[in-house]
Symmetry: C2
Subunit: 259 residues, 2 copies
């Protein structure tokens, strides 16, 4: 499966979807809160929408028009709660999965969002098992491991990563792909929002740890192949998932065991 | 605390201990199985020794002579079992901790060693809480997380990392330090043993993710400061350990949950 990653400022996805589809991509990943912007503070409640609201319907139309699956971040309203969410829409416009960020990042997130309560949300697309995470979530190896143990082949991670946290894109994301033997696609914003400067560096990393494609700081559309055969050969050589010793780490899931 | 990391071939530690002590280091970390060589196959059983055997007594003398703590890998015999172990000896020659590798690496390890059954072995030295892991162990984020949750400030990781696994030294080790907010010191072999070519790249990484010092492929003695104040400031800024949501990852410790 060919996937595209749109590193861009928040706003319209039409151009990215058209370019990705023209390039033959079957899935387009966009950044966190791409529909509204991430660092928009008090505007978040008013701009939040249900998972099947107007923004979702516009995305479904865009997906159908280009015959391409779309994964995009948006602020999701559900009753009185607002979640920092990512939705995956199939090429026929069907909503395949919706994930709510479980690890909120500092006051930027905590001031506005309710944390999600489900760590592993996955869907199948063209025979590839896809998992969803958002930004700070991927800094926790536990989240990626939980996806891998639940069968994920490809993690889609919309993000809003700012300077000086380049280490996340450059080091943590490749580590996640290798240690949990799956593909990770990571889509960041560009430019500035208020005092934040996004660092770009979107990427797609293979389970071998190889960075297949990496953006700089400017707007860019990345393309990468997700190859089931590479998943098989890499997992046969790098047996981390079967060499784990879950009986030895009981404290990892003990509540209150945070240092 | 100033620490030294000896990237070297297996063999004598006298020169490294003397140089480290002369540089003012309070602790010297040496590679996996440094007393005997790592890739020595059928020689392992005969060269294995109890944790308080002749090699340990020689190390205790060396530690006392130079007033420096020593951490070194060796094959440990205990009854009919042989473990791939690392021992930490204090500057007065006292044995402070002994850890047996829990995650065995392929046939190179499995053909000769019994796996250890205790994931977290720690000791205190000069006010720094030190944890011990060996080589393949550190590729599992769970092991480092378990140490961090148990209060580790500094992980000592003797290794025998061969080409083409540079990704472990270059990417996974820095990721571990940052995601679990502790120092990691990683000491590799140099040169060849039979068909293996060791890739060097020993390092010390700070909890900020900064690589404080990094070797090439040749023999080298690295020096780095472990600063309690940096641990405090880095953990105050990078709150991964307190932002974990242990209730969301139950499958991480479910036996048989290996993918």
């Amino acid at each position: 499966m060919l996937i595209a990653v749109s590193q861009q400022a928040a706003g319209d996805l039409t151009a990215a979807a058209a370019r990705a589809a023209a390039a033959g991509a079957q899935l387009l990943l966009c950044p966190e809160m791409v529909t509204t912007g991430y660092h928009i503070g008090a505007d978040i409640p008013a701009l939040s929408e249900p998972a099947d609201g107007p923004a979702a319907r516009a995305m479904a139309r865009l997906a159908r028009e280009h015959g391409i699956a779309l994964a995009y971040g948006y602020p999701e309203r559900d009753g009185h709660d607002v979640f920092n969410a990512v939705q995956l829409i199939g090429p026929d416009g069907t909503r395949l999965a919706n994930y709510r960020k479980t690890h909120l990042f500092g006051e930027l997130d905590r001031a506005w969002f309710t944390p999600g309560e489900r760590a592993v949300v996955q869907a199948e697309l063209h025979g590839i098992r896809i998992g969803l995470l958002i930004c700070y979530d991927v800094e926790f190896p536990e989240t990626v491991r939980a996806h891998a143990l639940a069968g994920a082949d490809l993690l889609l991670v919309p993000t809003a990563l700012m300077t000086p946290y380049e280490i996340v894109a450059d080091t943590l994301v490749p580590a996640r792909a290798y240690e949990s033997q799956l593909y990770v696609a990571y889509a960041n914003h560009t430019g500035r929002e208020r005092e934040l400067r996004y660092c770009g560096r979107s990427c797609v990393v293979a389970p071998t740890g190889q960075v297949l494609t990496r953006a700089g700081s400017a707007e860019q559309l990345l393309l990468a192949q997700i190859e089931p055969e590479l998943l098989r050969t890499s997992r046969a050589e790098n047996t981390h998932l079967t060499d784990r010793r879950p009986e030895l780490y009981p404290d990892l899931v003990r509540e209150g065991a945070t240092a």
